[in-house]
């Protein structure tokens, strides 16, 4: 356990050695939120307007909520895995008595803690400046369900990210493209990062709910907003958990296969 604590410490320091990068990343997040805020505020100028079950208050909570949940779920260092595989840096870990998964999970947690603490500060500031009407969930049972769904979301994303990155074992040069497609376009879109998924046709929503993607951002937020209640929460959590189990087995399997392919090139 102590080794992973030390990894946490070192990766925290590492994040800080790229201060400018980090600041720019945060600036981008803030700009994005301001942009979305003004967009949706003008669409819902009249507080009585309701579209697809969203009024001004809920859509703004959605926008802010996405900011926070993205910071928790999507901030992950494991995007570097593909690079490590293709340039051979992964060799360093294979030679040491350390679990590569736990190593990256630790680095992810470090990254999440850092991003989340900044997110909280930013949101507080934005909240004070923009003074939006936000929806506050107070039901402790619902909040607990949100918490559980977030933990599942984090594990889900970690597994998805690892699987995508491990493609580098077979296609060392395609790692980056695959990730871009996967994370930036597909995942963000399908998980509700771009717009609420329930404005899509019902049939499409049903299909989506059987994939892992909505459980990354959309589901936890819907639970928070009180738009998913009761049995639906349980069903969502169970589906999410089933996906976690499937992907976990897949990760282990692909890893074992990938290692056999690995030729430690460039070393």
């Amino acid at each position: 356990m102590r080794k992973y604590f030390q990894i946490f410490r070192v990766s925290f320091q590492q994040e800080f050695s790229y201060r400018l990068n980090f600041i720019m990343w945060r600036v981008r997040n803030v700009l994005q939120i301001i942009l979305t805020f003004f967009l949706w505020s003008s669409v819902f100028r009249n507080p009585q307007t309701e579209v697809f079950g969203y009024n001004q208050e809920k859509i703004l909570t959605y926008v802010f909520g996405i900011l926070v949940i993205r910071a928790i779920v999507f901030s992950a260092r494991a995007v570097d895995v593909a690079g490590e595989i293709s340039n051979g840096d992964i060799t360093n870990f294979l030679l040491k008595p350390v679990s590569y998964f736990k190593y990256w999970a630790t680095r992810d947690i470090a990254s999440k803690v850092l991003n989340l603490s900044f997110s909280v500060v930013e949101i507080t500031l934005l909240f004070l400046i923009l003074r939006p009407n936000l929806f506050l969930q107070v039901n402790p049972v619902t909040l607990f369900a949100v918490f559980v769904s977030l933990i599942l979301a984090v594990i889900l994303f970690f597994c998805l990210l690892f699987i995508t990155n491990m493609s580098a074992f077979w296609m060392p040069e395609n790692g980056w493209a695959a990730q871009f497609l996967f994370i930036v376009i597909i995942t963000d879109f399908l998980s509700g990062g771009v717009f609420p998924l329930d404005i899509m046709p019902l049939a499409l929503q049903k299909v989506l709910y059987s994939t892992p993607f909505p459980y990354l951002l959309f589901f936890p937020l819907q639970v928070y907003l009180g738009k998913i209640v009761g049995v639906e929460i349980i069903r969502g959590l169970v589906t999410s958990f089933v996906w976690v189990s499937i992907l976990f087995v897949a990760v282990k399997y692909i890893w074992a296969r990938g290692l056999r392919r690995y030729s430690a090139e460039g070393r």
């Binding site: 080794k3 030390q6 990894i7 590492q14 050695s17 060799t91 008595p97 030729s263 460039g266």
Partner: protein, 328 residues
């Protein structure tokens, strides 16, 4: 345990996709990738005793690094048997990994943006080295390698030589019993090389560590390795004492003559290949089988002051090994 390393008929094949040159080739390779099997190791066998320091030599692409990678558990053998310290390296058991280290001169394990001491501290935890041992080993290593003042410098600001020495510290903090060194002196200046060599020697002596070393640096081999294994195109061509390498592979012998009077060098050339002339000394290279005849001929036909017959220097043979000119 009487054998630190056992390798028996080890085979390793790689599958590679070939790409034709240019954009057209790239596009073509997406749709119909041309697969080719590279036979990196074609069934090599050897054993190494605990405490031995063995040099691996051979031209680029002969399979030296592939062997080291297989021995340290990075590569999955296509066929054959590998055992290091009685473990199967591929299983990557923590008890095994805690006793070995693979050091490659080309790349590093140090965290680039942080001072080296951070990597050391991290390795202390990863290898679960007790605090007291860690401090003792660190002190010893930084003294031997003379890097005490640089511990708190960001790794990116270190020179190549300094970094290489830090790499050694990081790789040896856990006192590995088996050490694989791949080109440890690559890119270093002469003094840097010397320091690393002395260190390797000392580490081997002090800890009775088993070391395999690959190098393109002649001095590394002649100064360090008693035993060498020559690998060419995936096969072992020679395995034995460094000095025996000459007898085994040199097809020529060297005749050194000192003439008492001026002679016609053209006539000497008829006897053998003239390698060097600094009159009155002339060095000739003559086929092994005819060396006695050639010497007699010289003694008979020329005014000779002194004549010696010598073996080709081991450096010459190693040079040939690197050029891939040796075959079985």
């Amino acid at each position: 345990m009487d054998r630190a390393i056992v390798v028996d008929r080890l085979i390793k094949n790689f599958e590679v996709t070939e790409k034709e040159k240019g954009l057209r080739g790239s596009i073509k390779s997406i749709f119909s990738p041309k697969k080719k099997t590279v036979h990196a190791l074609k069934g090599i066998s050897f054993t190494i005793q605990p405490g031995e320091l063995v040099g691996f030599i051979g031209p680029n692409g002969a399979g030296k690094t592939t062997t080291l990678k297989t021995l340290s558990g990075l590569l999955y053998p296509t066929g054959g048997f590998v055992q290091v310290l009685e473990y199967d390296p591929w299983e990557k058991k923590p008890e095994f990994l805690k006793q070995i280290s693979l050091i490659m001169g080309q790349k590093n394990q140090l965290w680039w943006d942080l001072p080296a001491i951070e990597t050391f501290e991290l390795n202390k935890e990863i290898y679960e080295i007790p605090r007291r041992d860690y401090e003792k080993n660190l002190e010893e290593l930084i003294t031997l390698l003379d890097v005490g003042k640089l511990l708190k410098t960001q790794v990116r600001r270190l020179s190549l030589g300094q970094r290489m020495r830090m790499e050694l510290v990081a790789a040896l903090l856990h006192k590995p019993k088996v050490l694989f060194l791949d080109e440890p002196t690559i890119g270093l200046d002469l003094i840097g090389q010397q320091k690393i060599r002395e260190f390797i020697y000392e580490y081997n002596q002090k800890n009775n560590a088993t070391i395999i070393l690959t190098s393109h640096n002649m001095d590394d081999l002649t100064n360090l390795a008693r035993r060498v294994i020559v690998i060419g195109a995936g096969n072992i061509l020679f395995d034995g004492a460094l000095e025996e390498l000459t007898g085994r592979f040199a097809k020529e012998k060297i005749i050194k003559v000192s003439f008492s009077k001026e002679i016609d060098i053209k006539k000497v050339e008829l006897v053998g290949t003239v390698k060097q002339v600094s009159f009155p000394e002339v060095t000739l290279s003559v086929a092994r089988s005819t060396v006695a005849v050639a010497a007699a001929e010289i003694l008979q036909n020329f005014p000779v002051n002194d004549l010696t017959i010598e073996e080709v220097p081991v450096e010459e043979i190693i040079k040939k090994v690197f050029r891939g000119e040796l075959t079985k």
